[in-house]
Structures are given as structure tokens and as C-alpha cells.
Symmetry: C2
Subunit: 348 residues, 2 copies
């Protein structure tokens, strides 16, 4: 089975090989195979396809990109592809992209704005058609300005930028309705009889943290309950963040807490583990709610109250915005839905 050593490697079949085999010019072969507006005589067309098939021709995408000056690739930038939320999102974006005849390349930002900047820069070099930035969303970073500049250069080049869940920058976007979703959740919980809340936030600078905390607070406000700053505990936007925050909580504080709202489900799951680790029952001793409605919630007992982000819709909308022309910047809002489950039972 000695194939493909440095020496005996077969040169790939090119379009000109196909053209020669079919007895036409390369231009005609190009028009027939890689579609263009112009039509090709049916008989030639047949000959060309037959030749291509026989030679096992596949178009060299890079060459097409160079020649055309544009590609059909959209890039999805996520913080961490192993995270359930982002991997679901990637799946939905890929499905939508496929339907639109686009290919997707996924890049991981590792929650670093610096990395985002580098990646956007590279993608400019790759002539990506669009960038869907679903990453961190760090506010107030010194790097926000450079990031915006880089994104603008990307658009100047003809690419399109779509931001998911952060509307503070001047680009097209899909808004996740964090604020309203959290607000409705707070309302629903008050109506179930809860009075004493604590909130577990991720990094303070994160858009998701800020909006969800603010929304939750606004929702409580509407019922005359004030969520003091001391009732919001900031940690990491991850399972470990939720776990650690609980571990660090004072016994008396915990005893005084009726319900904990973690700003995402991963944190809520970490908190759940933390609570159990401290011998607390959920919802017996304390109720718990999250945000996102990630798939793995179906595995836990008790079932968990959360705010569902319809992730397929997010993917579809992101691709739709990526395909739009012009530069409208009004975000498309995807509605988040409160889902009440066992972790927050009605109080008597």
C-alpha cells in the first residue's frame, strides 16, 4: 500500500486537463462546470462533465477564491467549541449555511479579545464572505476599539460582520433578548412566591452577564423587590464559575437565599453541584434557575427552570444577516422563552 510518498505523488487533475480531455478550451470548461451566467452548448456540456467525471476532477477552491476575489466561506467565531451552548450554535449555523450554499469555518477565540482581533485579521486575508462573532462580548475592554477597527476593515473589503448577542457595536446582529428574557423570568419567579434572590454572574465585562443581571433586576423591580449589588456574585461564565461561587458563599448568606439565578445554564449546573456538595437540596433548601436551556439539562434531576434561547433560530438568523446586502444595523431579535420546571416549584 505504498502510496503518496514525496516522490510518487500524483499531480491533481486541473481544469485544463478536463478541457483538453473534452476537446474544448479551458474557458468553456470553466463556464460549464463551475457555473456562470453564460450558457454552454448542451453537447459540449455533456462532454465536459463526462471528462470531469472520468478524471475525478474537483475544483480547486483556493484558485477559485483568488480568481473571483471572493469566497463562499463564512467564519464562525466562538469562545469555546466544547461548550454546549456554542457547539449547538455551531451546528445550527452550519445547517443554515449549507442550505444557503455556504461553507463554514469555525475558529475559537478562547475568550480573548486579542485573539478575536487576530482572527478577524486572518479572515480578511482569507476573503471570508462574512464573520459571525458569537464570542465573548467583552465590554469596556481597551481592545474593543481595535476590534471594531479590524471589523470595519473586514467590511471595507466587502465582507459582512454579524454579531450575536451584543448590540453595542455598529454592525449587523442577532440579539438574544437577554434583558427581556431575564426580566420575564424574574417576574415569573416572584409570581411563584419567591422573595429572596441571589444572582450568579459571569465576568462583569461580559454583555451576557450585564444584560441578564440588569434584566433580572428590572423584573424584580417591577414587583417592588430590590436586588442589591451585594446580592450579585460575579465569577466565571462557566460550570467552574458556578461551582466556585457557591463554595465561596457564606453559610448565613446561603440560608437567607430562596432562589439562585445563574446567568447561564453551565453556571447553574456548577452551582447545583456546589450546592449538593454543601449538603443543600434543590429545590428543597434553595431553588435554582439558569439561562439558555442547553440540551444537557434534560439529564438532570430536578428538571431546571431556565430561559430558552432558540438556538436554531439564532443560527438561521445569523446566516440570513450574513447574506444581506447593504448596511442596515438594526438587530434581529430572537425571543427567549421562560421555561418553569421543578427546580423552582410554586411556594405555598
Amino acid at each position: 500500500m505504498a502510496r503518496a510518498n514525496e516522490e510518487n505523488r500524483r499531480k491533481p487533475v486541473t481544469l485544463s486537463d478536463v478541457a483538453r480531455a473534452a476537446g474544448v478550451s479551458q474557458a468553456t470548461a470553466s463556464r460549464a462546470i463551475n457555473g456562470s451566467q453564460r450558457t454552454v452548448n448542451e453537447e459540449l456540456r455533456q462532454r465536459i462533465f463526462t471528462a470531469a467525471e472520468k478524471l475525478n476532477y474537483t475544483a480547486n477552491l483556493s484558485a477559485q477564491t483568488v480568481a473571483r476575489g471572493t469566497s463562499t466561506t463564512v467564519a464562525l467565531l466562538v469562545s469555546d467549541i466544547a461548550d454546549a451552548y456554542f457547539s449547538s450554535m455551531a451546528a445550527s449555523v452550519m445547517t443554515a449555511a449549507e442550505a444557503a450554499g455556504l461553507r463554514v469555518t469555525i475558529a475559537v477565540t478562547e475568550r480573548s479579545v486579542q485573539r478575536e482581533i487576530e482572527l478577524v485579521r486572518e479572515l480578511r486575508g482569507q476573503h471570508a464572505r462574512a464573520i459571525i462573532l458569537a464570542g465573548s462580548g467583552y465590554l469596556d475592554s481597551d481592545l474593543t476599539e481595535p476590534l471594531v477597527r479590524e471589523l470595519e476593515m473586514f467590511e471595507d473589503m466587502g465582507g459582512r460582520v454579524v454579531l450575536v448577542s451584543r448590540m453595542d457595536l455598529p454592525f449587523a446582529g442577532v440579539d438574544l433578548d437577554n434583558l427581556e428574557g431575564a426580566k420575564r423570568l424574574a417576574s415569573a419567579l416572584v409570581r411563584l412566591g419567591y422573595q429572596s434572590f441571589r444572582v450568579l454572574g459571569g465576568e462583569r465585562e461580559l454583555v451576557a452577564t450585564r444584560d441578564r443581571v440588569a434584566g433580572f433586576r428590572a423584573g424584580l423591580d417591577g414587583h417592588g423587590i430590590t436586588l442589591g449589588d451585594d446580592r450579585v456574585i460575579y465569577s466565571n461564565f462557566s460550570w467552574e464559575g458556578g461551582f466556585d461561587a457557591i463554595q465561596a458563599m457564606d453559610d448565613r448568606v446561603l440560608a437567607d437565599t430562596g432562589l439562585i439565578f445563574a446567568v447561564n445554564d453551565e453556571m447553574a449546573l456548577g452551582a447545583l453541584a456546589g450546592l449538593r456538595n454543601r449538603g443543600m437540596r434543590v429545590p428543597g433548601d434553595v431553588a435554582l434557575a439558569g439561562f439558555d436551556d442547553i440540551r444537557s439539562l434534560r439529564n438532570i434531576v430536578p428538571t431546571m427552570t431556565t430561559v430558552r434561547v432558540p438556538i436554531e433560530e439564532v443560527g438561521r438568523e445569523a446566516i440570513a444577516r450574513a447574506l444581506e446586502v447593504g448596511d442596515g444595523h438594526q438587530p434581529r431579535v430572537v425571543t427567549a422563552i421562560v421555561v418553569l420546571r421543578e427546580s423552582t416549584p410554586r411556594l405555598n
Copy 2:
């Protein structure tokens, strides 16, 4: 903010722009910026970099790929990126790739061999450096032969093929030790006192199903316990598959079952939900074990016995094999470790 309409879009900065600005030839600029063996005079080098910086130059990857005839992209083919196992794998492959200066593009096969074939074909056109196929692993498919042919053409072109967890094809690979892992699990369970087993398999044609079932059976055999064919229930290799298999089980069969081994954790979690749905307690009424040790196991109660596949190592090994030259086909084996937890307590 009217940028980037069709009309007023700025032409991207090219290498010749940089060269002109620096007052050198394009060749020199190329050597300085996009590294080559050859060295460039330090002063020129400075001038070139300054010019590149000022003009915000980024190399056009496609053009480089065309000119060089090879790319630094490796493609990872997975069944479903939303699946916890595959998304972890993607993360580990990306980390390892980054360290090696490669970029990764992820493509989804949707558990279809036909799709795998198409993708490999496209990747040949993209001059990908390597393909890591971590997908389905369907045996006995009519399409296996075409797939192999396509992969061989990919290698003929100079690309490298790395198979994860399927050693039946003549390519480099990373073996997951499915057989031995399942065998050790069976042994450990027998030693805990279990006697009556059922196995939940995924699709019969799946390598993972076949090897894990065979390994488990062999492990039991070693202790004089025979696992009859009627004790293996085939379903889908997914959460739903596990759930459905349990729903479809006869009451008497279930009552006669001491332990259920699901061939992957997702199925085990589905089975857990199914068992609870039928009012069975785990491990009180029936014990349960899975395979993979996916991350979300940390959220469930009881903690679940499984066989850990060290996924980071798989990613590293896959990239290492992708970088190897020559055509050795002996798979690198990654050892799977039995992890006993609460779902399979020792029996008195």
C-alpha cells in the same frame, strides 16, 4: 456609517502594495513577510514590516495556497458538532493544531457515509493537508469502497488521512481501545457482583457499537458469563436511542436485568431518563454504565460508571499522525480507563 457597499469598497492591500511602499521587489517582500528559508537584509526587513503594518496588510491565504500548492489546513470530519463527544474532540484537535501552526476546518457528516465521500472530495479540491475522520465508522456499507477510493485519491494528492477509532481501513489512525476498554469494564462489573447484563448498542454497523459490545462480551466470557444475542438491544447511537430502547423494553426483561451497559454515555443518559420515566431507580432497581466519560456526566446523580476516553490525547495524537510523513499504518492506541462510580455500587 455607510461602509462597504458594492460601490465604494476598498480593494484589499496586496503584497505588491507593500513592496512598492517599502521600495523593494515583491519577491523580497514575500521572503521577508511570509517566511521562507532565505534571509533578508535586516534594514529592508524593517522597512517591509513597517510598510505592511502601516497598510494593514494581511496575506491572502488562498493565493498562498495556490502558489505553494499546499495548505496548512487540516480538516476534521465529525458526525455532529453538537454532540458532546465530538465537540470535545474538536476542541482538543484545534488546540493541538494551533500548537503545530495548522488551522482546522470542521465539517459535519451528519452520520452519512455519502456525505463523508462528498466532503473528502471537496477537501481534495481545497488541498487540505490532512483529513481527520472521526465520524461514523459504518462497517459493511456499500459506500465503504467508494470512501476508501476517495481517501486514497486524497493521499495520492499528497494529503494525509487519519482515522479515529476505526482500524479496518488502510490509513493512519488513532485507535480508541474500544474493545479492551469494554472488556475491562465488564470484568470490573462482574467483580462488583453483577450477574445479569443487558447491553444497549447503537447502530449495528457502527465500529464503536461492534467493538464495545464485543469487548464487553469478551470480558464477561472471561468470568464464565455468556452474553446472549438476545441480551443486546440495538438502537441509535444517541440519547434518543438510549431512551427509546428502554421504553421498548418488556417489564419482565427489565426486572431480570441487574445492569445495563450502554455503549456510549449519551445513550446511557437517555437510558437513565427512560428508566426514571418508567419509575425505576438507578442504581436501586438497576445499575447503569456508559462509555466515553463526557463532561456532562458531572451533572448527574447518581454519578455514572463509564470508560474514560482521554479525548485531549486523541486530539493530540490525531494531529501528530497528520503531521507524520511516510505511510506507516500502525494505529496509535489511546488507552481507555474504567471509572467506577455510584451507578454501579458493589453488591453484597
